[in-house]
């Protein structure tokens, strides 16, 4: 397939909107500095449509410009987790039929992260947006350890319960703290030589499946994920891996 470019007013115009702050005063020279900044970053026909003073020596810009490059969607690898479109009942039936035993899942918001609403949405009874959480699945044993759980403790719990999958939530991303903490868990699993024993899954609003895989996870779930998708993926994956009962 051919390259596509952004669609603003009409097909093929390539228009993108930008906003940014430069450490210069919002004076008569700001516009040209902003335009030059955009040109240097390869943007074509830039227009600055707003300049506001964000401080004495700080100018906030709103701009429109044409992107110089398109993208060929066919050539792009990677996507969100592809899970079977199964509901609560189907997933349970699948586990019962194919595995014949409960799947054990241990989850937590790890290290410094205290945001539990995301992992709770996936794991707790109540679930998310009308979709029941894993705790409610008769064929899943779900243990949610809550907030700020050190990696060491999470691993210990997983080992003690012979978990099939470890679920990790990371919400705070400032200064890449999530990447560091997620990597810490992978390192720990590898150091203990148990990485292959678990499906390792992470989730959070700033995570993508591709990024999760780069970090060494089996899957990553982004914003708006639902429990049934997660459950469906885990069940499917365990079955595919032919995990012994």
């Amino acid at each position: 397939m051919a390259e596509i470019v952004p669609y603003g007013d009409t097909a093929g115009d390539g228009m993108v909107q930008l906003s940014f702050t430069l450490p210069v005063p919002a004076d008569g020279r700001a516009r040209e500095i902003g335009l030059e900044f955009l040109r240097r970053n390869g943007l074509r026909e830039p227009q600055i449509v707003h300049i506001g003073a964000a401080d004495r020596e700080m100018a906030f810009f709103v701009a429109y410009a044409k992107a110089a490059h398109g993208v060929d969607p066919e050539a792009v690898q990677g996507s969100e987790v592809e899970a079977p479109a199964l509901g609560f009942t189907e997933v349970n039936a699948l586990i019962e039929r194919e595995l014949g035993r409960k799947i054990v899942v241990v989850g937590a918001a790890i290290e410094t992260d205290a945001h539990t609403v995301g992992i709770d949405a996936i794991m707790n009874m109540k679930g998310f947006a009308g979709d029941y959480g894993l705790e409610r699945y008769p064929w899943i044993e779900a243990v949610n350890l809550g907030a700020q759980v050190p990696c060491e403790r999470l691993l210990r719990e997983a080992q003690e319960r012979s978990a099939d999958a470890i679920l990790v939530s990371q919400v705070v991303t400032q200064k890449q703290v999530h990447a560091r903490q997620l990597t810490k868990l992978v390192d720990l699993l590898e150091a203990e030589g148990v990485r292959d024993r678990y499906l390792l899954v992470c989730g959070g609003p700033r995570l993508s499946n591709t990024f999760a895989k780069e970090l060494g996870y089996d899957a990553g779930f982004g914003p708006g994920s639902t429990p049934s998708t997660v459950a469906g993926w885990i069940a499917q994956e365990l079955i595919a891996r032919g995990r012994p009962v």
């Binding site: 007013d9 009409t10 909107q17 906003s19 449509v49 707003h50």
Partner: protein, 518 residues
């Protein structure tokens, strides 16, 4: 929400508006214009252009000569009879230089009959489209108010159609195709599907049809009737109204003064044209939308609320006089006070509520902030959201959505999407406010509304005394003075002579409920 309006004052306001409308109507019913005559041709089925690209209705009316003696209907019908041809064939022959417009007294009675028959046929087509609309509404459902009204304006009718569909999928109820700059100054209606325009797309009958079909196709998918809009105002009001009637437009911008004030079109011309165009809109079941919002782009919004109110009253009187019932009179007003002005939101709320209460049966149309928004698209978006709140809390009927890039460019596909999403959310989230909050008696909002109404009545008194033509010449509306004999298109106005025949007027005028009594 309800204001404690002085009944005496509101009755005075309506009476004054009728009195102001009367002399205008007297002028209008005594005159015709080139575009009114071209409308006859169009409704007789004449379409297409000659080899120079001149529309055939123009070719016919040009052939009629200055003064438009007697109107086009009879000479054209005579030519049809003499040549045993359709109006279209006559027009084509005329364009090719093979025919003249007959003035053959022998066939006159027959011609009158033919003209009357052609008019009845046209009327049936119009009424059929009206019926079709009713059917489709019954089938697909009518959206809740405020209707979400968006514009498309790419210049290319095919992109417009695509974006209209995208908007409808996102939740738009009404789609307007903005016209290319300066089309309103063309003394003809362009022809065919067009793909080049600036700041908008040409209003042509074929373009109307193109987008109409795109929306009709989508109704089963979106599960509601989708309305289409275009603009009548300009030098071709009745012709475009005729195109709209034939292609089942649902709303049309049709203001009795817009062309005068904002396009420097001659006042006499406009008053004749608006009358006939409105008669057609009325017959077609089309909701007209007036353009009072524009006043606040050339005058200061917080000072000119009363000119908006006065104008809506006059526009309504003139619409009733053209036979349009109140449920089709979409009076316009706007959220257009400088947002940095202290109390702005309260003042906007007051004006919106005032218009709502003055015209409880009209599908009033609320226009978004435009002049005081800037390239700070975040600010514009937030101001637009406030406009949506006021719209739903005061029970507006048609809400023209605010676009975050209003001060930047004609709306991008995604700009419109953001507008629709905001309106849907705010309308649902704030709908119960209308029954939840009431103006505090004697509070700032109620006082503001009462003050604007009082100022409007005062202005109406002055206009009534001066007469509408002089009031406009003085610049009392939109701070834009327009003398009666100035502006474009005056040469196209002619008295309806004693022999003047227009079978459409014969058909429709008697049905008017008597404009003088409003």
């Amino acid at each position: 929400m309800s204001l404690d309006l002085d009944r005496g004052l509101t009755e005075e306001a309506f009476a004054l508006a009728d009195s102001i409308a009367a002399p205008i109507m007297e002028f209008a019913v005594a005159h015709t214009t080139v575009t009114i005559e071209r409308t006859v041709a169009r409704l007789f089925g004449v379409d297409g252009v000659d080899e120079l690209g001149v529309p055939l209705p123009n070719v016919l009316v040009d052939a009629l000569g200055p003064g438009l003696p007697g109107g086009l209907a009879l000479p054209l019908a005579e030519a049809c009879i003499t040549r045993n041809a359709s109006p279209q064939q006559v027009a084509e022959a005329l364009a090719a230089g093979d025919a003249t417009l007959g003035s053959d007294p022998d066939v006159a009675p027959e011609a009158r009959e033919l003209a009357a028959r052609l008019a009845r046929e046209a009327d049936r087509r119009i009424v059929a489209q009206r019926g079709r609309r009713d059917e489709l509404i019954a089938e697909h459902g009518d959206p809740e108010t405020p209707w979400l009204y968006v514009i498309v304006a790419t210049g290319n009718i095919h992109e417009d159609a695509r974006q209209a569909q995208a908007a409808a999928r996102a939740g738009a109820d009404v789609v307007a195709v903005i016209r290319s700059t300066a089309q309103s100054l063309l003394d003809y209606v362009p022809y065919g599907e067009t793909t080049e325009g600036f700041g908008g797309t040409f209003a042509t009958q074929a373009n109307f049809r193109r987008v109409r079909a795109a929306l009709d196709d989508l109704m089963p998918e979106v599960g509601r009737y989708l309305r289409l809009t275009n603009y009548a105002s300009g030098l071709c009001m009745p012709e475009i109204a005729a195109c709209g009637a034939l292609e089942r437009l649902d709303l049309m911008l049709n203001d009795s003064m817009y062309g005068i004030l904002f396009r420097d079109i001659n006042p006499e011309r406009t008053f004749c044209d608006q009358y006939v165009s409105r008669m057609i809109n009325g017959r077609a079941g089309i909701i007209i939308n007036t353009g009072e919002d524009n006043y606040l782009t050339t005058s200061a919004g917080h000072e000119s609320g009363h000119t908006v109110v006065a104008s809506t009253l006059i526009n309504r009187a003139l619409a009733l006089a053209a036979g349009i019932p109140e449920p089709q009179i979409g009076l316009g007003h706007a959220f257009e006070i400088d947002p940095d002005r202290p109390g702005q939101i309260m003042e906007e709320w007051a004006l919106a509520l005032l218009i709502r209460e003055l015209f409880p049966r009209c599908p009033i149309k609320y226009m978004p902030p435009t002049k005081h928004v800037t390239g700070d698209i975040f600010r514009t978006h937030a101001i637009g959201s406030m406009f949506n709140l006021v719209g739903v809390a005061t029970g507006q009927h048609i809400q023209l959505l605010s676009i975050l890039t209003e001060a930047v460019h004609t709306p991008f596909l995604a700009d419109r999407l953001l507008a629709i999403q905001d309106a849907r959310r705010v309308f649902e989230a704030a709908r119960p406010l209308r029954d939840s909050l009431a103006p505090v008696p004697g509070g700032p909002l109620e006082l503001r509304a009462q003050g604007v109404l009082a100022d409007a009545v005062e202005l109406l008194h002055r206009v009534d005394d001066a007469g509408m033509f002089d009031a406009i010449a003085e610049g009392w509306f939109a701070d834009t003075p327009r003398p009666r004999d100035g502006g474009r298109g005056r040469e196209g106005v002619a008295e309806r002579g004693p022999g003047y025949v227009n079978p459409f007027l014969e058909l429709w005028e008697p049905q008017l409920a008597g404009w003088a009594s409003g």
